[in-house]
């Protein structure tokens, strides 16, 4: 004898699948989007570390030194977003005496969110980074 599906049963799998899929999207989003965010954060930090060292090395107490420092930062070929995008809006600041330290901020690194957007997350996530370097750095003896 053919047994028909109970009315209460009908559509249950669809609902269960939908709920599971939303949860799955959230887990995939955590893995994929957070992964990219952490990488961008790390890439930006390494860039500002190098850029602040490059800027600080050019400081000599003059305005020309500040210009050379800004140019040194602009010349750095480093990229972010898995090595595909150039850094934009980079801010370079200096100590008032123009010879002690340089601070570099990379404020605009916006990671586009792929999966978490589907479950109520933001469209983009900004991961800024900043570093300060002394003009007379510690040198390794070796």
């Amino acid at each position: 004898m053919r047994v028909r599906r109970h009315k209460k049963d009908a559509g249950f799998v669809l609902i269960a699948m939908s709920v599971a899929l939303v949860l799955l999207l959230a887990v995939m989003g955590m893995s994929f989007d957070f992964g990219r965010i952490y990488i961008a954060r790390n890439e930006a930090q390494v860039f500002t570390d190098a850029a602040s060292m490059a800027a600080a090395a050019k400081l000599d107490g003059t305005d020309a030194g500040l210009d050379r420092a800004r140019q040194a930062v602009a010349r750095l070929p480093m990229r972010w977003n898995l090595g595909t995008k150039s850094f934009t809006g980079v801010v370079v600041e200096f100590s008032p005496d123009k010879q002690s330290w340089a601070r570099v901020t990379a404020p605009d690194n916006q990671v586009e969110i792929t999966f978490l957007r589907a479950v109520g997350g933001p469209d983009v996530f900004t991961v800024p980074a900043h570093s300060v370097a002394a003009a007379k750095p510690v040198r390794l003896v070796e």
Binding site: M1, R2, V3, R5, V13, M17, A20, L21, L24, V27, M28, S31, F32, G35, R36, Y38, I39, N42, E43, Q45, V46, F47, D49, A50, M53, A54, A57, A72, L76, P77, M78, R79, L82, G83, P137, V138, R139, L140, V141, E142
Partner: protein
């Protein structure tokens, strides 16, 4: 109560469809998650190696000294140590010093101005897929160490 043949068929079909979706999502998550984890480790390793190269004494009495210096930088990227003890494991799975590129940028006087450190060719085996990184991650650090053109590497 036993399920009828019809119902069993339905359940099997539903399982097959949902399992296909779930397993492919899981595979993708593992694949990309692991690859991103490895890439992040590579960024950290290359950044640390670049900073070490920037602060290190640049000795260039002979071409062999420059090569010795590069080998120390490669070791720093891979092992976190310029002179690793035998048997030291790499910080990133399957990374070896030969996969790390170190290039000096020299200034007009022939001294070091900056150093480029990059991963030349690295393959991530992420169980469900394979990713290959060539020439990235890459960093450039300015040279701020001591320039010793007459000294030899110890």
């Amino acid at each position: 109560m036993k399920m009828s043949r019809d119902r069993r068929g339905h359940a099997l079909l539903e399982l097959a469809v949902s399992a296909a979706v779930m397993v492919s999502c899981l595979a993708g998550t593992v694949e990309f998650g692991y690859t991103f984890y490895i890439y992040n480790e590579l960024v950290t390793a290359v950044g640390n190696g670049g900073r070490y190269a920037a602060m290190r004494t640049y000795r260039s009495a002979a071409p062999a000294d420059i090569e010795k210096g590069k080998a120390a930088i490669r070791n720093m990227v891979v092992y976190g140590d310029a002179r690793p003890a035998p048997g030291t494991l790499p910080q990133v799975a399957n990374l070896s010093p030969e996969q790390v590129q170190v290039e000096w940028v020299t200034d007009d006087s022939g001294g070091p101005a900056a150093v480029n450190v990059a991963i030349g060719d690295y393959t991530v085996d992420a169980v469900f897929g394979i990713f290959r990184f060539t020439g990235r991650p890459a960093v450039e650090f300015p040279f701020v160490g001591r320039f010793a053109p007459a000294e030899s590497e110890p």
